[in-house]
Chain length 151, copies 2
């Protein structure tokens, strides 16, 4: 590879957009996430009780939906883009906007909103991306900004 | 229960602190989280490659550590406090500050930094809590603020 190809940061511009493929949230996902996270809130684990709630059924953990979003983003990256990620810096302004039900299908829509060169560190610069996790009814279920350090 | 006991929000004050018990991050956690999230980045899944990296070994997904933190917070709540949570609103100013290695033991330290009465909705008010996820070397590995709507 040339140096040009090795710097994904240099080829990332404000306004760049991307869309991931979808993922259907299954009962197994919610059950597995409860076990992995240790969050057994009845919202996610008690079908009988949730039948009488405002939701009418169990909803997915917000943190599961966010975790699945990072998986979709990773799967959508090219091999070159995957190599370029040095570190996940942080998340800002995250809002859980809508519940996600078992059977819903989510995808992620992204837009680069800021870039900052950092040539003196282990990467070339930070990229901040506005993230929307969207369900099959075109509702945004999570919005946030994610910042990563890229080569 | 009396009305007084039913409003956890009314009994939550700025400056209130809490500390969860600990959780050791295991290889099974990292493997299971890769499967649940769909994020198979080599940082978390390729022991051979990571042996040659700046980390020297696999590190846990930042999103796993954050998910485990929500589990620790849930487990630390009293039954009354668990019932009081109406919704998880959002996360602000999240920073992944240090890597978490397999074998590290994390816990969560919390301090209430803002409360806002919202008597006209499904809860009594929002509570914003400064969260620090801390490892066994007293290093903060994640910091953020979480906001929830409480009864």
């Amino acid at each position: 590879m040339t140096d040009e190809h090795q710097s994904v940061f240099e080829h990332t511009d404000i306004g760049d957009t991307d869309t991931t493929h979808g993922r259907t949230v299954t009962e197994a996902d919610v059950t597995n996430f409860a076990g992995v996270s240790g969050d057994f809130n009845h919202l996610h684990t008690d079908e009988e009780r949730m039948a009488d709630s405002m939701f009418g059924e169990r909803i997915a953990h917000g943190m599961f939906v966010l975790s699945a979003a990072t998986g979709l983003l990773w799967q959508t990256r090219t091999p070159e883009e995957r190599e370029a990620v040095v570190a996940f810096y942080g998340i800002d302004n995250l809002r859980f906007r809508q519940p996600v039900y078992i059977g819903d299908t989510i995808h992620v829509e992204t837009e680069v909103v800021d870039t900052e060169a950092k040539p003196d560190g282990p990467g070339n610069g930070t990229v901040t991306t506005a993230i929307e996790v969207v369900n099959q009814r075109d509702q945004t279920v999570i919005s946030c900004e994610m910042t990563s350090l890229l080569r």
